[in-house]
Every structure is written in C-alpha cells, then in structure tokens.
C-alpha cells in the first residue's frame, strides 16, 4: 500500500504529519513531504486513521500500481502543450 496526497485538495493542515511522523514531514509552510510513500503492515492502522482524519479528505491509501496525474504519476498525456 502507498500513501497518496491530492495536492490540490491539501491545504496544509498537517494532521498527517502528527499521526504518521515516521512517514510524513512538513515543509516550512506546513505542506506534507513524503520521502517514501510505502506503508508497511505495521503502520496501516495509523495510516487509515490519518486518511479518515484529514480535514480536506486529501489523503488516501492506494494500491502501489495505480497513479493519477495530480499525485505526480504519469498519465498517458503530454504534460502541457506549450
């Protein structure tokens, strides 16, 4: 499982870093930094709690294979068309 953040929904409340300090740190403006998004079995209960408590519903636990563009993954598209 992986922790995913909807960066557009996130407004930097920072609860995720309080609940999952070993996974999430915050930048100087309070927005999450995740070095390694993988969530081991021992941390899943806390990760689920963080997902439930995020005031913007910006967190989710996902299968490691699926990605969406707003989460930094590669959609089959040219990024911008400049």
């Amino acid at each position: 499982m992986e922790l995913r953040i909807d960066r557009i929904a996130c407004d930097g409340a920072g609860l995720c870093a309080e609940i999952l300090p070993e996974l999430v740190t915050l930048d100087e403006w309070g927005y999450p930094i995740i070095e390694d998004a993988r969530v081991g079995p021992g941390r899943r209960a806390n990760a689920r709690r963080a997902v439930t408590l995020c005031p913007r519903l910006a967190l989710r636990l996902a299968d490691s294979r699926q990605r969406t563009s707003a989460e930094g993954g590669a959609a089959p598209s040219g990024s911008r068309a400049a």
Partner: protein
C-alpha cells in the same frame, strides 16, 4: 532544414488540396475499437509534440478504451502559453488545413464525434473559424469542428486545465485525467496541434515515409522555436544538433521556461531529441531553444523567468502558493547581488522541495530551471555573492 509541415498553403482550401491531396478517411471505427489508421500511427512511432513526447498510438488506445458508450472528444491544443514558443501559431498560419485534417483523422480513428481547436484569445481564432466554415461548406470533415479562444496564460495549455476550461470551469489543472474524464465528462484526446499535422501526413504517406527522418526513438521532423533573441520557427529532423539551429552562446536554455540551461558549447553538441536532452539534465519540451546573449547574466535572466512563472501558477497547491514565490524571491535577491550564502543554501533547499509535490508539473519545471541555473551559472553565483554581476557591472557588498 526540411519542409513537411511548414509548406505555406495558408487558409485557402484549394491550395491545401493541391499540395497535400484529399483527406484520406478510412471509414469510421467500430464502437470501442480503434480505426485502421491506429496501426499506421503506431508503426510510425509518432510521439506528442506538446512537450510530453508520449506515444500517440498509446494515447489513442487509452482514449478509445476509456470511451465506453459515449463518443470521445478530440481537443487540438494550440494554446502555446510558453512565451518562447511560436510554433503552433506559425503552423496554424501556414498550414491550418493540415492540423484540421489530422484532427478529423484522429476523430475517425477513435470514434469521436466532436473536434475542438483551442487557440489563445486575440490571435488566430477569426481566421481559423473561416477555415472551419469553408471545410464544413465543402463537407470535408466527418465530425463537428469548433474553434475556441482560451485565456493566454502559461497553464491554459496544460491538458487538464484546457479540458476544464472548455467545460466551463477555470483554466487551471485538475486531478481528473482527460483521457478518462475530459470535455463534458467524456473521454478526451488532447494533443498538440503539431502532433495532428504529423498524423495527417502519416495517413497520406505511411509509417516508413515518416520514419525516413528523425531518430529511431523519436521519428519524423519537429518544429523548433529558436530565440537568439528574436523568435524563429524552423522545421528540422528530430535529432538535429542544437548547434545547427543556433550559433555559439555562453549558455542555451532548452525546453523553455520549464526547461534547463546548459553551457552553450555542451548544448550545441546535443541532438534535439527527448531522451538525449533528458539525460543531459535538460528537456526538449515543445522544441524550444533560447540562447543567452554574450554579456547577459544568466542568473538575472533566470530570476526574471522564475518570477514570471511564480505569477503564472494555478495557486491550488502548496508548492505553487508558497514554494514558487519563495524560490523566485530568493533568486531575485541573488540576481540583485543582495543574497548571502545562507540565502543561497535556502534557495537550493526550497528548489529541491518543489518537484513531485504539486497539483501539476508546473513546480517541477521551475525546479528544473532554477536548479539547472545554479549549477550552470555557478561562477555567477559566486560573483553575485561578492556583489558583482557580468551584466550590470555594478559592485555591491552583500549585506
């Protein structure tokens, strides 16, 4: 130089038909499957010319697979929000019918019933509407075609932003993937205008003709916007050395405002092809080559670009709201000769935190630009820390 796309036919349909011949329609695709042209496009190895260089055949397949029971939509993206790019406007000026041919063929291939051509407001919209009307009068296109004029902003051409704007929303990126949920919730093929023009020629001349120039990984020709300093648009085979399109320069910006600087001599040796430029730490993007004039300061130039880019963000995510203005501010401080070494360290740290954390790739582009500038203009950084700038020739003490 080589002319496949840039042969001037202009808005006149007769001249276009004389030069390129009839639109080679192959018959509609069966619902849920791809039309016969898809195999030819796959064999040609066509890749998107909007900057992503994603294989067009895979994109067609993804849209067709996601379409379900409702016909998909084709969006021709000529928003060209990048200030150093002029190729889409040039292409639509000299060969608008070629672009529209490609869009009609793509629509037929994926079973779309609607084509939307998006250009920035205040530009080619009225001329293109005339072209579309003439094609409709002559019964050229098998689908409905409309021209829309979007806001002239850097992010307006970002695919999800454009689709959102066409649907009546703001022209800023979303988390929705256009190929699944695009215009009106329908699966949407959004591709750059140049990509459609290549597609129109592949349909006429075939995959091996297309592959006869370019590289094995990225076949065909490409349009390049070269600024040194005036912007020119050239058509060259993919893989042409940078040095063949621009002369010696102290540094060259490849890939535009979200691209990267390389030392001029190194850049001029490199081929204009996506993978080699990526390996060198730059990007081909939409084919942008911009030379730093002798006597100009790369840090000042980069600070100006970063400041502009910070103002062009969608302001939806943390890196865009706070990271970009902070990085631009730090860089401006350095460019003005007012930064200390601590400020530079902070700039490096803040730049390093931009990639992969935004709602779209806008922060990643700025990080590439600024991070690259700090490396390539390392001597300039030191000079500026001592209050010296090659361009302004002023000496100041850093406070």
């Amino acid at each position: 130089m080589m002319e496949r796309l840039l042969t001037v036919t202009g808005p006149d349909l007769g001249r276009h038909l004389t030069r390129h011949g009839e639109l080679p329609l192959r018959g509609p695709a069966r619902p849920g499957s791809l039309g016969p042209l898809a195999d030819e496009i796959a064999a040609a190895g066509l890749r998107g010319r909007g900057g992503g260089w994603f294989p067009t055949a895979r994109k067609l397949a993804a849209v067709a697979a996601a379409a379900g029971s409702r016909p998909p939509v084709v969006v021709v993206n000529a928003m060209e929000g990048e200030p150093l790019s002029a190729k889409d406007a040039r292409l639509l000026t000299v060969a608008p019918h070629l672009v529209l041919d490609g869009a009609a063929l793509a629509a037929e291939t994926i079973g779309a019933d609607r084509v939307i051509l998006a250009v920035p407001v205040g530009g080619l919209g009225p001329m293109l509407r005339g072209v579309v009307t003439e094609r409709a009068r002559r019964g050229i296109d098998p689908v409905s075609v409309e021209v829309v004029e979007g806001p002239d902003r850097f992010l307006s051409g970002q695919e999800s932003a454009l689709v959102r704007w066409i649907g009546g929303g703001p022209a800023i990126p979303t988390a929705k993937r256009p190929f699944e949920q695009g215009v009106g919730g329908r699966a949407t093929l959004g591709s750059n205008a140049e990509t459609f023009a290549h597609l129109a020629l592949i349909a006429r001349h075939g995959a091996s003709w297309f592959r006869s120039v370019g590289t094995a990984e990225a076949p065909g020709t490409m349009l390049v916007s070269v600024s040194d300093p005036d912007i020119r648009v050239l058509e060259v085979p993919v893989g042409t050395p940078v040095g063949a399109v621009t002369g010696p320069a102290p540094a060259i910006l490849l890939g535009g405002y979200g691209g990267a600087w390389l030392p001029g001599d190194q850049a001029r040796e490199l081929p204009l092809a996506p993978e080699p430029l990526q390996a060198a730490g730059a990007t081909l993007g939409a084919g942008i080559v911009s030379a730093l004039p002798y006597g100009a300061c790369g840090l000042r130039r980069t600070a100006a670009i970063a400041g502009w880019m910070a103002g062009q963000g969608a302001r939806q995510c943390g890196p865009c709201l706070f990271g970009l203005p902070a990085v631009a501010g730090d860089l401006a401080l350095l460019a003005d000769g007012r930064a200390t070494r601590t400020d530079v360290d902070r700039l490096c740290a803040r730049t390093g935190l931009l990639p992969g954390r935004g709602g779209c790739a806008h922060p990643d582009g700025v990080a590439r630009l600024v991070g690259g500038a700090l490396r390539v203009f390392g001597d300039e950084v030191e000079a500026h820390l001592h209050g010296h700038c090659v361009e302004t020739l002023t000496y100041r003490r850093a406070s």
